[in-house]
Symmetry: C2
Subunit: 344 residues, 2 copies
């Protein structure tokens, strides 16, 4: 039994493949996060978004990303990641000559399908196409595509430039080599790709998040707790556990020396108690929306949005440094990224 910190680098596969030129289609918070991560990794990025405010948002997110990567010692000085980024309203112009394309437009199937059609019409024949969708099955996305074999889902987590997780999901027509390529691209961006082997709606993480969201909405709807109280119940308790051990490993430890079998014997039966037999979400009536908005304003409204982003990022940077020091979990992803040195 060792008292030393444990090396738990469970990356599946070691290959990395950084694209020279990438396109990001759709520049909301997620698309801008992708663009920032790509540019900071040394990739030339062309961003497509017709919205007038897209570039302003993009530059703000890139500034945040530079700040966090710099505090981790991952960003070099020149050229500025900003200089690796150009913004255009045209999908054609963005994807022309791009080896890797990340689609991040709003979550509407028909919109995504039409954008993917535009992408594949203008992109190089060998370009890999990834969608950021948080829940639509890739089989649905690729149904109308001329070359569906190169479409994968690469579902990231906000802030995209800082959180390592990306869920990689193939559809019925996706080539196995496209999955491997996507995993290698994401590793080259300092991420932890998780191959979701079975295609289901919402993949893995959002299945869990959706369940929590639904419970939380009922708690607010029924007046049991405010948004602030619910957030406190997370951040002062199990949130501190889940930044480093997940549900199963946490419960394994809670089960004591009896291991997981003992844990299930002890707590399994309580699952039949009538705690959370909810199937629907409360209807988003104007009253419920007002209630949530008002409670959220009370909770967080005294912080400017960019300020909240900086606070969040500073905290997560600190957590990643702790985990790197302890050679654990997401800290190993950071260590692997660091060993690659700054982008050339």
């Amino acid at each position: 039994m060792s008292h030393e910190p444990i090396d738990r680098n469970r990356e599946d596969g070691e290959g990395q493949a950084r694209p020279e030129v990438a396109a990001v289609v759709g520049c909301g918070v997620i698309g801008a996060g992708w663009a920032a991560r790509l540019a900071l990794s040394g990739v030339t990025v062309r961003v497509a978004d017709p919205a007038p405010g897209a570039e302003v948002l993009l530059r703000e997110v890139v500034d945040n990303a530079i700040e966090t990567w710099s505090s981790l010692g991952l960003a070099d000085g020149a050229p500025s990641p900003h200089d690796r980024l150009t913004v255009t309203a045209s999908i054609d112009a963005a994807v022309d000559g791009a080896h890797f394309i990340q689609e991040s437009v709003p979550e509407r199937l028909e919109l995504k399908r039409s954008v993917l059609a535009a992408i594949e019409a203008a992109a190089p024949a060998d370009a890999l196409i990834a969608s950021s969708t948080s829940g639509i099955r890739p089989t649905e996305l690729q149904r109308m595509m001329a070359g569906p074999e190169r479409l994968v889902v690469g579902h990231p987590f906000n802030p995209v430039y800082l959180l390592p997780l990306v869920e990689v999901v193939g559809g019925a027509a996706t080539a196995p080599s496209a999955i491997e390529r996507a995993m290698a691209v994401y590793r080259a961006l300092g991420m932890r790709p998780l191959h979701v082997r079975v295609e289901i709606d919402a993949f893995i993480a959002d299945r869990l998040l959706e369940a929590v969201w639904r419970e939380a909405l009922w708690l607010v709807n029924d007046g049991v707790a405010t948004t602030s109280e619910i957030d406190d119940a997370i951040t002062y308790g199990f949130g501190l556990r889940w930044a480093q051990m997940g549900l199963f490993e946490t419960y394994r430890v809670a089960g004591g020396t009896g291991g997981f079998r003992h844990f299930i014997e002890q707590f399994g039966p309580t699952l039949d108690w009538p705690w959370t037999k909810l199937t629907d979400t409360p209807p988003f009536t104007p009253e419920l929306v007002d209630k949530i908005v008002e409670q959220s304003d009370t909770q967080s409204g005294h912080h400017d949005l960019r300020e909240l982003e900086r606070i969040r990022d500073r905290n997560i940077v600190g957590f990643l440094e702790v985990l790197e020091r302890n050679r654990w979990g997401a800290g190993n992803t950071l260590a692997a990224q660091r060993s690659n040195g700054p982008p050339k």
Copy 2:
């Protein structure tokens, strides 16, 4: 707009009331964690548990607790917290003369009721009685009590000596002053008491945890993901968010400058998608139990239990230090505890 770290000490009420003598009834992982936190806070603790292995477990947990509190600079040298602890098989002996009693026996209503009856028969008339139950309503617990007004639920989170959250819940017969006393006791132990104002099964945190647990079990049962993959989906992604901002504040930031109303407009409709309409948990067949146990062994079995506990604690200590440095969330609870100095 300030660039400085934000002071977010939202403790509701400032009162602290450290008991001189406390009793812990039931010494599993939770009871031992309570005993350790109490002893490290300078309280004389009498632990009641008839199991032969109780004291061995207790001393191991106290060793872990001393290590983490020492690394945070919170533990003084002498007398050792071990010396403040005695173990007895007798509830009567443990609670005699105790001003604060924390019950932590297994989650069976009849067992808890009989233990509470034994406690109130032998405890001082003015002793406060708290139950660690993670889901039974205090109204149910107190139904047979002679003095139900002094019974509260004080639901902690493992590791109890390190995580600040404790949910405080009163039943129909609980006196408001008992709630206030419990909040003050828990604050004196360095905790963040969260008053759950409306009594519901599973309170707040376990409502959320139960929903995640159910989804995760289906994912394993259906072969979508292993325990290890599910844990990775948590620890490399949203787990890092939730150690510092909860569900609502995270989504507020994700919604961008439009605030929470914009977030709901954007993502609210996806809640009607058929993602997680599950109501039941999968039956715990021998096959499912074997599957979980085997996957958990593959994931974590190469670590000794005490080693996993130390890894977990070292990571959480690091997170708490980051949050204290950034004057945020659970870091403020730690700062408040630190300002009280070591126990006298």
